[in-house]
Assembly symmetry: C5
Homo-oligomer: 312 residues x 5
């Protein structure tokens, strides 16, 4: 079972000395002292509007946003990622959750065929620091970059500055990087995913969330992911969970991403919150069992099926 000490945290040089201990605290909280990240993605209410929360195949409880926080509290996660406003509304009742503030967001109404994607920063970092100061348990930031968009430059600049400021204030940063735009023919080409991983490193992110590369004739998704994980260097790579899938297949893929693909975590949203509270909680535990405790797939599946419990 992976476990790291304070001394083993690789603190980047842009973490100012006076916040070094804060950064280490946040890094260990987010990774539950493992160096691995289990990120519960709760930013889709803006990104996908209500489509991920209400409709066929989605548990009715998911339409109430508090569902997300209940899962975050009763399940086992590293961080709950959501927009600042969402967190501000519920955080007072969920003080134990580690929050990661997703700094930018867009809706899915304008498609790439109409205009390349740009996801704007929704507020200054100061607003996040003030909330932390007021007692909200914020451990880090998130930001999405659409690499290859005609607006790539704005997102690179916003992300670059945010990472510098976040580290200077002891916060960790997770980048979501998705190649997308008229210039991008194949968003999941292995070389592109590896490129996204390296770009995150150049910007100084602590973790980068990417989509799993597609399977090719030369390599499986997990094998290609291993190249990307290495290209990310000291930035930890985590895979997006994607749309709702069968639990066994999902956990199996996750296992391969970590043990073949060198991923150091996962970022999962829909697969979790579209289920009932009880089932969602079990799934977070199963995912965390693999991500944070190196469980085998079958053992994790037993956790999901309620045949075993998992706690840290």
């Amino acid at each position: 079972m992976p476990s790291i000490t304070r001394d083993q945290v690789k603190v980047p040089a842009d973490v100012m000395p006076e916040v070094r201990e804060t950064y280490i605290d946040n890094y260990l909280k987010a990774t539950r002292n493992t160096g691995r990240l289990m990120l519960f993605a709760c930013d889709q209410k803006m990104e996908h509007l209500n489509g991920d929360f209400y409709g066929e195949g989605i548990d009715p409880s998911d339409n109430d946003p508090e569902h997300l926080f209940q899962i975050g509290q009763e399940g086992v996660i590293g961080v709950l990622a959501g927009q600042r406003g969402l967190i501000a509304r519920y955080a007072p009742d969920y003080p134990e959750i580690n929050f990661l503030v997703k700094m930018n967001s867009k809706t899915n109404l304008v498609k790439t065929a109409q205009d390349d994607p740009y996801s704007p920063q929704l507020h200054d970092l100061e607003a996040v620091l003030a909330m932390r100061e007021a007692g909200v348990n914020i451990v880090g930031l998130g930001y999405t970059i659409y690499l290859g968009s005609e607006y790539e430059s704005t997102m690179l600049a916003e992300a670059g500055e945010l990472i510098a400021q976040a580290h200077a204030n002891g916060l960790i940063v997770v980048l979501w990087i998705y190649p997308r735009g008229k210039a991008v023919a194949d968003e999941k080409a292995p070389a592109l995913i590896a490129g996204a991983a390296g770009a995150a490193l150049c910007l100084g992110a602590d973790f980068v969330k990417v989509n799993p590369p597609k399977d090719t004739e030369e390599a499986t998704s997990a094998q290609s992911l291993a190249i990307a994980s290495q290209a990310a260097g000291r930035t930890g790579l985590v895979c997006a969970g994607g749309s709702k899938a069968d639990a066994k297949e999902f956990l199996s893929n996750l296992y391969d991403q970590i043990h073949v693909g060198g991923a150091c975590g996962n970022a999962t949203g829909r697969n979790i919150h579209m289920r009932s509270l009880e089932e969602a909680v079990r799934l977070t535990k199963a995912i965390s069992a693999i991500t944070l405790a190196d469980y085998e797939v079958d053992d994790a599946l037993a956790v999901y099926n309620g045949e075993a419990d998992f706690a840290l």
Copy 2:
């Protein structure tokens, strides 16, 4: 009759401790101690130019902007929403009205076919805070977002930052969210309205004003609104009043929006101010009777018809 105490106000975590009491004061003033919002919308002189204020079917008194303030004073409302400049000109003579400063506005001259809509922020928050400091009874801010516009990103960013700053200064925030632009085929589709409600929550708004969803084969407008109200979570949803309608039908719809649709208020402009002062005042009372005091439709109609009075 709905009524909440100071302790029951759900203060979001971005309200800084030193302005917590101010926020609660403003929330209770705006909702008249009910948690429900009766918003008198007086921002259309910019949005619709003079078309809502002069012409056939409009009482001549509506052409004089002071009409709005007279209604606000003699009627029963929660807040009067208008642009900063408009409020600055009349507020000294109407000190009792609760003002909500509409921070952005556009005219209706450029249509969506020519360019997607963008409504610019008209001034910094500092200008509002200074007016409050100088004694104007300002309880909150308003901001309009056209979701799905090609300029959505600018409005999301302006709104996101404004909400953070407003809460940090003890002000409440109402978002007007309308899906609109070349990418939006059906502005009143139920799923879109629910999406708009959730987006407001992600941004941290206290209330969101949306258009009522259209009736569909599966659900009435009020039934669909119930989904949107739930999707808004701890952000209160209020419905736009729309163009001038028959009073009975209007009040009946409002009743359903609240009691079927889960709305916690209304936002009405033209339906009120296009009438004579006396009639307009009676309509505000009838609306408030439903919104703030859970009147039945017929009882509210009696208020509108002058057969009964309503006061808080």
Copy 3:
């Protein structure tokens, strides 16, 4: 003859208490204690380049910019409106003139068919305040908005912020509002002019300069102007003088604008400065006689013809 006292000045609520007396001073200086505005427009050297100052039908003295200041000094005006730089060059020799700094300007080289109009703010307000501090007799600001331009949003935002800042510093503000752009089919339609007047009120302007509405089958220009004047509420409406016209016709129109149309002043440039100094001075006096002293047209014409003098 109109005359107002300090107590009668309607001070808007965004004038901070510490500059209240300054604002009243400036308002009374600009209106010569009448509440009416005679604005001598001297900003066309940028707006129309040299076309209004040299050529057929223009007195040769008009090519020397000092002509404008000589008229301003020897004639009777409320304020001389010009760009900051122009005023800076001549103000030391004309300390008695009340100056209104026109904050934005564009040339007429790019036509609407090529691009919608945008007139940029030429400098920060600080530059104006510094000049005032250094002793220049500046009483207010001016700003032009092209309503209906694709760049309307930028101008609304610049104007909105400037008005807030100007009032906070005790300065009055005059907006020039012209509907113009590909979306505007008829720039002088009565409803549009009334809309422009209301927009100025929403922004908080003290005065708004509009073009006279066109004559229609339903109403004369002056009758339509009356609707616009009422729609402007507590913002005073003044009419642009337009291109050079016969003095009698010009004065007659002005009289109607005030006495039928409810205008509270005028804004005239070319009609004045295209004439010789002596004739221009007489015309300012005739205009002021109507605007500031309620002269009849014939009496004002006598002033223009040198048969009578006019002074305040």
Copy 4:
């Protein structure tokens, strides 16, 4: 021979009292106590890249940028105008030269047919003030505006703010104004040149550099220039030297620009620096003899031919 005293300098009202003496110092240094400006234009290394410095008809010494400074030191000039970076590299070895920092620049790679011209401000004024503070002999700023470009608004705004700030810090300002862009059919039409001159005045420039108007059936270039010089009012007009020409013709044109056209100086680059150091030095003296000392053409030509010397 023109000569002015400190008292005769027309100090504009935006020069703050505490820097009044500095402004007068700079004005007199730049004009060599004459009120006339001999500007040696050395900004073309960016504007025209290396095309003006290397190739047929250009002295080989011109390829070394130090050539410019050697001319500036050994010749007779008012100011040497160049970009901040260029000046920073050589100023320590040429402490006697009066430097004018050209604040904006573009290359000539993108032609007007592809995009209208915009020349960006290269740095804040603070960078210039710091260099002055550190001992560099900077007397003023320069800025280029392409009037009629679709980007005119950005340049007007940058120039307007720079002039305010420069004067507030005691620096003089020279505007280069060239009508250019898809909207400009005839860049050298006399009315346009006069318009450019007036626009410079509205912005508050001390001097404006324009191209000589073209000859027309009605007026020679110099006669049209006289209109423009008058339209510039208290802003001094100087003519661009243009591409390399025969010395006699060049000096003859300059003489007419001053004595017929009312110009108060010249701005010359290529005509000077494309020659060998020795010849270039003689040409600066000949130019200055006409500009600063009212020499006749033949006397100035004798200076150029080395038959007479000229010094101030």
Copy 5:
């Protein structure tokens, strides 16, 4: 062997007196006391994504970003240039390397046919200064300008301001200047390369990295480079190394660039890091032998072949 003393460093005038010694320190560190620059370019993980680090013909070790730092430590270089984030991640373990922070970057996904290139500044200078303050051995900045791009203006403005600020803080600056965009037909035309060199001087850069000019009928690449080197004046010109080439040819070209072309250094990335650590280290030594110690080609080749060692 070139060698310069502290007194021989030409300190530009925008280096403030209080950081003069810091600037000289940085200049001498970067040039290893020679005035010549051996820049190891490690910014391509963003610029070329992972294409330069993984694939056919590339040593597998290159996929791990730490490879770059190992080369930088064991080889002989002047500076290692990379993005701030990349440096922040590894600098704590490589304290001896001189770092040059590449301030802007873009990916290669959007091609010029789709949109002209713009490389955005990734963060403020403050973020770099803070890292330096915290102990990272940063000697300077880098910035890329695509001259002739439609976004040239933004890059010129960002670079111009950065150079002023960097010098004011004692840092050296290297500009990468590449003519590129729809307006640029021939990116390596000798006159363009010379123009780029001169533009760097106008902006005040310490060094400019350009591509070698192409061979023409009139001149070899190195001969044309000599013109560009002279046009750069006091800004040192260094050549980009380009794609991976045979070592002998590469060293031979470098020799000519310096001894014929007047270059004062080189900037090489792919040619070095695509090799195994051991081979890459030897190549850095061979390059430095020529650049910093005036070795002949054959002697440098012996170093590359491991037949001789090179150290400073």
